[in-house]
């Protein structure tokens, strides 16, 4: 694990002390207690409470699970604290691919857990529509600590949309999210995460994934709004032959945001494939876009693509693509490019009659173009708004 840069002038320990434990604030027991403004906020984060095409919903507000229902027999969804009781401490999955002593945040999640979700698709169960999970901080200065376990049993297929957000009027908080995902033989897990935080929110996800033979893990990460500091580096291990992992991320960093993110894929078995694609935009914020591919077996194929767009003179994009081969028979590549919008692209569109602003928006929109199935239209609108904000920030 590389040493991740700390958020400026605050140590991890100080950060923990700054926020209060989630149980200190009263939070709704049921999702019906959320007001319209909050429901809209969830929608903007990819969570749609009315959608017919979501097969299950889990919402954790501060420390309370305010919704946990799933309509499919073959999929089990539980608050993780219940799953721990029901399944004898989830001994095959609990802290199995992450170390609780890794850093102060994992330690804190281990000692003072609020809750989290446990989702398991039974063998052969193929879920057509997504399930949604939401980790929602409702009160100022709350530290929310969750630990999630997802298991896609042999031959199953599962799509989870996770929206992480804060109350529309909240400015400050801390989110610690430990996630361990297990993709068994021939299974497929699509995990789409939308971050919609506030200006003084610190976010510390700690994620590990294991993919067995013939399994597929696809991750989409979207963060379009300002946030004080994000520091995440999910690590995926491809353990079985023919396993596949792909990470897509789209990150916009306005002024004041410090986002250190990326992913690592360890290709341990022969004929595994991995891809990391990240698109980052800074209009004043700092983004560290990491990518680390480790090839440990022969006949693997891995590619990394890091694209960064600087829209202002302020801000930093630091792309760190890394390729690490341990055997000779590997096909590993990367491309990284950081810079402003190419003038020739703007002029190309202007030669078709577009105003300069229109041309710029078209290019930024194209750059951020992510096709993720099953996201509500509100998120599309958020994307449009982000494009406009980028343009105004220029």
């Amino acid at each position: 694990m590389p040493v991740l840069d700390k958020s400026p002038s605050t140590t991890d320990e100080e950060l923990l002390k700054r926020f209060k434990a989630a149980p200190e604030e009263k939070a709704p027991e049921d999702v019906s207690e959320l007001d319209n403004e909050e429901i809209k906020r969830l929608r903007q984060t990819g969570i749609d409470l009315d959608a017919a095409d979501r097969l299950g919903t889990f919402i954790q507000t501060n420390c309370n699970v305010s919704s946990c229902q799933c309509d499919i027999k073959g999929v089990e969804m539980l608050p993780v604290t219940e799953a721990l009781k029901k399944y004898d401490g989830l001994k095959d999955y609990w802290w199995k691919i992450l170390d609780p002593d890794k850093d102060v945040f994992t330690k804190e999640a281990d000692r003072n857990l609020d809750n989290g979700y446990f989702i398991r698709a039974r063998a052969g169960e193929k879920v057509v529509y997504p399930l949604q999970t939401c980790l929602y901080i409702r009160n100022n200065n709350v530290a929310q600590k969750v630990h999630n376990i997802v298991v896609a049993e042999e031959g199953s297929e599962l799509h989870i949309i996770t929206g992480c957000t804060t109350h529309p009027h909240l400015t400050s908080g801390l989110h610690i999210g430990v996630s361990e995902f297990y993709v068994k033989k021939g299974a497929k897990l699509v995990f789409t995460m939308v971050h919609n935080w506030a200006e003084d929110v610190y976010v510390r996800p700690r994620t590990a994934i294991v993919v067995e033979e013939g399994g597929t893990f696809l991750s989409n990460y979207v963060s379009l709004k300002g946030v004080k500091s994000v520091q995440s580096f999910p690590t995926c291990t491809l353990k079985g032959r023919n396993a596949i992992a792909r990470f897509n991320s789209v990150i916009v960093a306005p002024e004041g945001s410090d986002i250190d993110t990326g992913s690592r894929i360890i290709l341990e078995a022969p004929e595994t494939r991995a891809e990391i694609i990240s698109r980052t935009i800074s209009y004043g914020g700092r983004v560290v876009a990491r990518g680390h591919l480790i090839g440990k077996a022969k006949d693997i194929k891995a590619h990394l693509e890091c694209q960064g767009l600087m829209l202002t003179e302020k801000g930093i994009i630091h792309a760190i693509p890394e390729l690490e081969a341990h055997v000779a028979d590997v096909d590993m590549s990367h491309e990284a490019a950081v810079g402003r919008i190419a003038k020739e692209e703007i002029e190309y569109l202007m030669a078709r009659g577009l105003e300069e602003e229109e041309a710029t928006s078209t290019i930024v929109r194209g750059f951020l173009n992510v096709k993720i199935d099953g996201l509500p239209k509100e998120l599309d609108e958020e994307l449009q708004k982000a494009v406009e904000e980028c343009r105004h920030g220029m």
């Binding site: 692209e345 002029e347 190309y348 030669a351 078709r352 105003e355 078209t362 194209g366 173009n369």
Partner: protein
């Protein structure tokens, strides 16, 4: 349609065009021949109004308006259109969106793409992984959607295989209203190296550019044959 008067243009501080005079009438198609680096593309880019092509002297009149210092997009709106020789790739922007952005009449571009069997490219990113011929088709479709009065074509046949030359030729004929023999309103200026395009599109006049100057004007077929036989320098000598 287009009147260029004693046009001197610098690119990156270097004098490239040295006193160009040119007149293209309504409904006329002109061809521009010349060696690599003689200034042909510079002339097209200057007419269209790209940044970096600095007019030092002279003027460009289009449809009666002095456009010498007019912004690029306003020229496009006024009826100028350019097919790029090597257009940039627009990541994430689909050809469908691009055609809609260009279309004077909503949906016209997409309809044209279907008509020319380019349907499967509509949801691809503009120019991303396109072959030479596909790029030209995409450029011409955009122009047809835009429907300019004066079309500037920079080597429309380069990178196109023989089979596709037919289609490209057909598209250019449509753009320039070659099916009309009277009251044609569309004009064109075509840069060509190989002259292949002359087999598909008739031109009214040819020009030869040498070291930033137009040295010869006349029947495009005669000029092209002269260049083929004697080379650019000799061709220029023989005419004057």
């Amino acid at each position: 349609m287009l009147h260029i008067e004693d046009l001197w243009v610098d690119v990156q501080g270097k004098e490239v065009l040295k006193g160009i005079n040119m007149d293209i009438g309504i409904g006329e198609t002109h061809c521009l021949f010349g060696k690599n680096g003689s200034g042909k593309t510079t002339l097209l880019m200057t007419i269209m109004g790209f940044d970096g092509y600095e007019v030092k002297h002279g003027k460009i009149i289009f449809k009666g308006e002095d456009i010498t210092y007019m912004p690029l997009n306003e020229r496009a709106k006024l009826g100028l259109g350019l097919s790029f020789q090597r257009p940039p790739t627009l990541r994430g922007v689909k050809l469908r969106d691009m055609l809609n952005l260009c279309s004077q009449t909503p949906g016209a571009g997409v309809e044209l793409a279907i008509q020319y069997g380019f349907e499967m490219f509509l949801d691809r990113e503009v120019n991303h992984g396109f072959s030479g011929g596909e790029i030209k088709k995409s450029e011409l479709l955009q122009l047809m959607a835009q429907n300019p009065d004066l079309t500037l074509l920079d080597e429309p046949e380069s990178g196109v295989d023989i089979e596709n030359l037919n289609v490209i030729g057909d598209m250019i004929r449509k753009l320039l209203e070659k099916d009309k023999h009277r009251n044609r309103t569309k004009s064109g200026l075509i840069i060509t190296h190989t002259g292949f395009i002359l087999n598909y599109v008739t031109a009214d006049k040819g020009h030869v550019m040498l070291n930033g100057k137009l040295c010869c004007q006349g029947n495009p077929i005669d000029i092209f044959e002269g260049i083929q036989k004697h080379g650019y320098e000799e061709c220029v000598k023989c005419q004057f």
